[in-house]
Amino acid sequence: MKHLVILGAGTSGTMMVNHLIGKLPKKEWKITIVDQYKTHYYQPGFLFLPFDIYTTKQVKKDGRKFIPKEANYIQKKIELILPKENLVKLEGGEELPYDILIVATGTNIAPDEIEGMDGPGWYKDIFDFYTYEGAKALRNKLREWKGGKLVVHITEMPIKCPIAPLEFVFLADSYFKNKGMRDKVDITFVTPLSGAFTKPRATKALHYLLEEKNIKEVTDFNIERVDYENKKIIDYADTEVAYDLLVTVPTNMGDALLERSGMGDELNHIPTHKATLQTLDHENIFAIGDATNLPTSKAGSVAHFEAEILTENILHYIKGEPLKEEFDGHANCFIETGNGKALLIDFNYTHEPVEGTFPFPGVGPLQLLKESRANHMGKMAFKWVYWNMLLKGTHIPFVSANMSTKGKHFEEMES
């Protein structure tokens, strides 16, 4: 009996177990999935929790419900991967030998990477919204906040869902307007990049959003420390930004397991072949989702497309066939812009997001890189799609794993 082990039962791990359980012959293969936590969070919902758009109940479910019964589901902490021995060690000494290993351990915030960030101000006037705890604490803070300087800040790239901090400022603008206190709140967006938007087409199409909503932009800001006593963030050029409420996206790092196992890069992400999803160092270890170092967005849609291709490649690997170099970095993301509207972007390693229609070329019904109510409905419907289709590995109709260039306006890009 051969053994395939999946580490992590988040979005990627859960999708992989569902894909593979029906595809690997049961008489030859046993599939085990390991995760220390019982709860499966709908992470895109963390954006909405602070603004009381979603309740806590809407963003979490018992993870077991999404793991097929035929799989061996272990709820234990993973101590170590020993790639040379093809062995995973769990808390309490249990050992799992594997023939194939899939690493799907995700990425987490590491606020302790920046001096003063997770000090006395943490969850008092400094918050993250990338964790359930952070988003919930921020919700409680916002409910009673009387206004002042709201600073929304990205520590360093790469981060999970790179667009979420911008969505946060857009939703904050709507939230304070609806509470009749927008005039009491000064919103500033602080980024280490050259702008809130960094690609030419998106900048052209979307910069008006910041102006229209009166959101200030501080760019090229590489934070050195948080001065929590005087409530300001300070960068390496000694630029200071004062805050009353700091909503930060701390450094994102892969699981410490990868560091312990000597398999991660400087941010504990695992070096992975960007088209096959095989890890660069070990041919029987594959990686998926936020755990990889792939130069695409860390997002659920990316993991979804990766899962379809990784499933095929696992089957090729088992048969001794060459792996398909198919993954193109495809991402497809709804972006909330506030006031019941959203944008949709569709891009990959080589094509930046542009205007057009999706998923049917020339028809839509969704518009790319343009605000609309239909896109917002799409984003809201996605929660249902996530729990009922995505996690179960059901193919989303009309949306292929590889990006389509049809119906998109690339021609204007060349100048």
């Binding site: 360093e156 690609k199 979307l206 390496y236 930046e352």
Partner: protein, 102 residues
């Protein structure tokens, strides 16, 4: 679009970043630096060498990476390329600036 830099026609994007690294030469880097009011010294070139090395290995460029590079500390990096050092250094190096998804 195309631009004449150091007597050569070079492909650049609308922000002035080279779109084809194979067209880059040291003279072109020097000219781009001048436009940014930076006059290149040996120290600047050491940083550009490091950036090229990362680029060739397809490793992302970050302040964290610079910090750990052993080539330069962050304060000096800011002094050499004032006002957005990654943005300016990548332009001089002839490679794309660090980007987000949009």
């Amino acid at each position: 679009m195309e631009k004449l830099i150091a007597q050569r026609t070079i492909s650049v994007n609308e922000e002035g970043y080279l779109t084809d690294f194979s067209q880059w030469t040291k003279e072109i880097g020097e000219e781009i630096a001048k436009e940014q009011n930076i006059s290149m010294t040996d120290r600047h070139w050491e940083v550009i060498d490091y950036i090229h090395d990362k680029f060739q290995k397809q490793e992302p460029l970050s302040i964290r990476g610079i910090k750990k590079s052993g080539v330069i500390n962050i304060k000096e990096f800011y002094k050499l390329f004032p006002g957005g050092p990654l943005k300016k250094a990548t332009m001089i190096a002839g490679i794309p600036k660090p980007k987000s998804c949009i």
